[in-house]
């Protein structure tokens, strides 16, 4: 190769004129994760001032206990759904069917596990209809298939993502209600409850699952070119296609993965409440997930995305919810309070708004 030669042969480039360097704080303020972290810290601070026990962590019966652990544990399903959704949003899409898929996954698992009380050798034992692993696999396959269907509608049939997934949102909810017969199906099989209630090495299993999803995705995106392709598709799908990127295949896979994530979340949710509720499981979860992605700093217009931001976003949403409960806001104005806080968070994160505030603050000051 002639690389080295050519690089040597090119004339030395003149050193660019450097402007006065911004202070370290100004530069740090531009990091995309700063504002989500500031927001999380603010909400935690408000919570802590009203609820002094927030920081209290305790080791009891070999488990970690405390409000923070509770928040992380409850944020886990939302974080998993939001992580899958982040990739969809990065391709300039959206998936509003994740809540319905959460319900489907829970319903499939509940039906296949069921749980019968049997007396074996004089002892009461719960037996599942199907082996646990088969039931979990079936639930996840069903969820991924729902996602893949969304992807097909978007990438092959050319439907607008919000319409394609709106169909699944309705059809999926209907399917979940059909599966459960409109009832709440109670599960009688303790091994299943580990996913949503168990502890491993003292840490909630649900939080560990979320952590595993996050780390797995980070590793995948770091080791493969998936991130580059997803961003290229999100920013300019036509150019990506001309460059030879398999845009359709990748889009379908991304939606399928989003469905899979919703499936995992559905298992956690149904395991946590030891039942499957086709009517209410995952209701409005899609909106919380979209909120988590956005609060985390990923733009709905596609392209650049941040997984870490989404995880922080999910923690922000859950901390907010927990705070509202903890400080005893009356249930009927719950959503209003949440809306006001989210509104403030969004304004805080908008560079345009910050610029205007700064301009207002400095107006009248001598130039």
């Amino acid at each position: 190769m002639t690389t080295a030669h050519e690089m040597n042969a090119s004339p030395p480039r003149p050193a660019p004129q450097l402007p006065p360097r911004d202070s370290r704080w100004v530069r740090a303020g531009r990091h995309p994760l700063v504002w989500p972290l500031v927001t999380l810290a603010l909400i935690l601070a408000v919570n802590a001032s009203l609820n002094p026990g927030l920081w209290h962590l305790e080791w009891r019966d070999g488990h970690l206990y405390g409000s923070l652990v509770d928040i992380v544990n409850r944020a886990a399903p939302l974080a998993i759904v939001a992580l899958g959704l982040t990739l969809v949003i990065a391709t300039r899409g959206i998936d509003i069917s994740v809540g319905a898929v959460v319900a489907i996954s829970g319903a499939v698992a509940a039906l296949m596990i069921g749980g019968d009380l049997k007396i074996v050798d004089g002892q009461a034992v719960h037996i599942s209809h199907w082996p646990l692993s088969v039931a979990l696999l079936a639930a996840l396959v069903a969820a991924a298939a729902c996602g893949a269907w969304n992807g097909l509608l978007v990438a092959r049939a050319g439907l607008q993502p919000i319409i394609a997934t709106l169909i699944m949102m309705l059809a999926g909810r209907g399917a979940a209600q059909l599966l459960t017969g409109g009832q709440i199906i109670t599960i009688y099989y303790p091994p299943y409850f580990v996913i949503g209630n168990g502890f491993f090495l003292g840490v909630p299993v649900a939080a560990l699952v979320a952590l595993a999803v996050w780390l797995g995705m980070t590793l995948l995106l770091d080791r493969s070119a998936l991130g580059l392709f997803i961003q290229a598709i999100g920013i300019n799908p036509r150019a990506a296609r001309v460059a030879g990127v398999r845009a359709r295949t990748i889009t379908i896979c991304v939606y399928a993965f989003c469905g899979l994530c919703a499936g995992v979340a559905g298992l956690i949710v149904s395991s946590n409440v030891k039942s499957a509720d086709g009517n209410n499981a995952g209701v409005l979860m899609e909106l919380d997930a979209i909120l988590a992605v956005t609060v985390g700093g990923t733009l709905l217009t596609g392209g650049r995305f941040t997984l870490a931001g989404t995880v922080i976003g999910a923690l922000i949403i859950q901390t907010l919810t927990s705070t509202i409960y903890a400080i005893g806001v009356p249930p009927e104005i719950n959503l209003v309070v949440k809306a006001v806080v989210v509104f403030a968070v969004m304004l805080l994160q908008s560079p345009e708004f910050r610029r205007q505030v700064r301009a207002l603050a400095f107006r009248g000051a001598p130039r």
């Binding site: 402007p19 998936l226 580059l228 961003q231 150019a239 990127v245 650049r304």
Partner: protein, 505 residues
């Protein structure tokens, strides 16, 4: 009339304009010249209120102005047509022209848009431009050239004192350019000041009364065309006589090159075409051969390239790579067999704007490699730097978003994207459109070098002299058909004959 003094503009670390001046007088057509990245577009964006100045003053009719937005500057009487058409393709022609200031009718509380009046006035405006199109047609269904003229009509429809045209002719054919010039002459005599940016030297001398040249963000000088003959103008833009020397180098290379080998063609089309896109045609492309494709806009040049690259599906005939018949249903298949395609529409089909120059350059190579293994960042940076140096891409560093580069540098980066895949067949669709003289020469030099190394190149261009200079053979397209094929040494007249006159072929 419009006077810009000591204008400077900085974006962060980069000084884009440094002490630039521009003086537009009423009733003149003023050409603004400079290479890509000289600062022409930035200066225009300052005049039109898109960017604020870092330093300097603007005056209009002697009064200082500081337009804060394009709307602001429009109200002041400065109207602009940008390089790329900035209209809404899903609206009608009339709606595009009146967007934002629809004529109203009815009383105060009930002001409906006056549709008939809008159509009527649009028709009158278009007649001024010698355009015969239906104002109620959706803009997106019209050819790009006509869209460009509609953009000019829109600019004229506000009562402008100053009309700025940023490369209005790059997508127009000769007769359209001539009708545009006729309009400009009319506007000039009515006392309008016209600022005209172009890369076509002959157009500068055809229309302009004064020339201002920028280089590297600095003011070089202001001349009348009589004071500044073409070679001097090029020298002023480039700063040295590089362009001409390099043009001669291309010619010398063409002359010195041996005739292409007569082995199995690298790429062979037989009766290859698609309904409503390209009539079936035959074409061979051998290693080390440059085949030029000439023809007017809409003659099927781009459609042919898209078919060959698998972007559209062919429905008749065969395409063979190295004798092997293949069917492409996705560009990825073409890329795997060593094809590469730089599309005509750089902005919509080429660059991925918010991604860095580096990511844009490695995109095709990574797409061919697949998801796995990922090209490591260090290797990406090395690759990008190699091509930045090789092609002379002017970028502060390879991590800046490609959208911030000037048009010619974006084009070079796209070429780099494909060179990184080491293609065997390179299809270039209008690679020199909208880029300056020196960059054109560099690009043609590069094409020659690649052909010498054995690459076969399909060179599509509407500039016949370029096609003539660079090609071993020239395929002429007309009405979506192959009108004929000419050997090296053909004259411009022969090509023109094939392009226009079916009988003369």
């Amino acid at each position: 009339m419009l006077n810009a003094q000591a204008i400077s503009k900085r974006f962060g670390a980069v000084t884009v304009l440094d002490d630039v001046r521009l003086h537009l007088r009423a009733g003149e057509v003023h050409a603004l010249m400079g290479q890509n990245g000289a600062g022409k577009s930035t200066l225009i964006k300052i005049l039109t209120g898109v960017y604020p100045v870092t330093a300097g003053t603007l005056t209009l009719d002697g009064a200082p102005i500081a337009p804060a937005s394009p709307l602001d500057s429009q109200k002041l009487g400065i109207s602009t047509v940008y390089q790329e058409v900035n209209l809404c393709p899903n609206l009608t022609v009339a709606e595009n022209i009146f967007a934002g200031r629809f004529p109203r009718r009815g009383w105060a509380g009930l002001k409906a848009i006056d549709g008939p009046r809008m159509v009527r006035e649009t028709r009158a405006l278009l007649t001024r431009l010698n355009l015969d199109i239906d104002p109620t047609r959706t803009l997106g269904t019209l050819p790009v050239a006509v869209q460009q003229l509609v953009a000019i009509a829109r600019a004229l429809s506000v009562d402008a004192k100053v009309l700025i045209l940023d490369e209005p002719t790059s997508s127009l054919d000769d007769s359209e350019v001539e009708s545009l010039f006729a309009v400009l002459r009319g506007l000039r005599s009515s006392g309008l000041a016209v600022l005209f940016v172009t890369h076509f030297l002959d157009q500068v001398y055809a229309i302009s009364d004064r020339i201002t040249v920028l280089r590297n963000g600095r003011f070089v000088g202001e001349w009348t065309p009589a004071q500044l003959p073409a070679p001097a103008l090029v020298a002023a833009m480039v700063g040295r006589d590089v362009a001409l020397a390099s043009a001669q180098a291309v010619d010398a290379q063409v002359a010195a090159r041996p005739a292409a080998a007569t082995a199995t063609p690298r790429l062979s089309l037989r009766h290859f075409g698609a309904e409503r896109r390209v009539h079936p045609l035959d074409l061979d492309l051998r290693d080390g051969e440059v085949v030029g494709v000439a023809g007017l806009l809409g003659s099927g040049r781009t459609e042919l390239a898209r078919l060959m690259f698998g972007l559209d599906a062919a429905d008749s005939g065969t395409l063979a790579v190295q004798g092997q018949t293949v069917r492409f249903t996705h560009p990825a298949q073409a890329v795997r067999l060593g094809l590469a395609f730089c599309p005509e529409e750089r902005k919509s089909d080429g660059i991925v704007g918010e991604l860095s120059v580096r990511e844009n350059i490695v995109l095709a190579l990574q797409a061919r490699t697949g998801l796995w293994p990922c090209i490591r960042p260090a290797r990406q940076r090395e690759l990008a730097q190699k091509y930045i140096d090789l092609l002379g891409i002017r970028a502060a560093d390879s991590d800046m978003p490609i959208a911030l580069l000037s048009g010619g540098n974006q084009q070079k980066a796209l070429l780099a994207r494909w060179l990184a895949t080491a293609p065997r067949v390179l299809i270039l669709d209008e690679p020199t459109r909208g880029i300056d003289v020196a960059a054109k020469q560099e690009l043609m030099n590069e094409v020659m070098r690649l052909a010498r190394e054995g690459m076969s190149v399909l060179f599509i261009s509407s500039e016949i002299d370029e096609v003539l200079r660079i090609s071993d053979r020239i395929v002429v397209m007309r009405d979506r058909r192959k009108a004929g094929e000419l050997a090296r040494g053909a004259t411009e007249a022969e090509v023109m004959n094939l392009i226009c006159e079916p009988a003369a072929a």
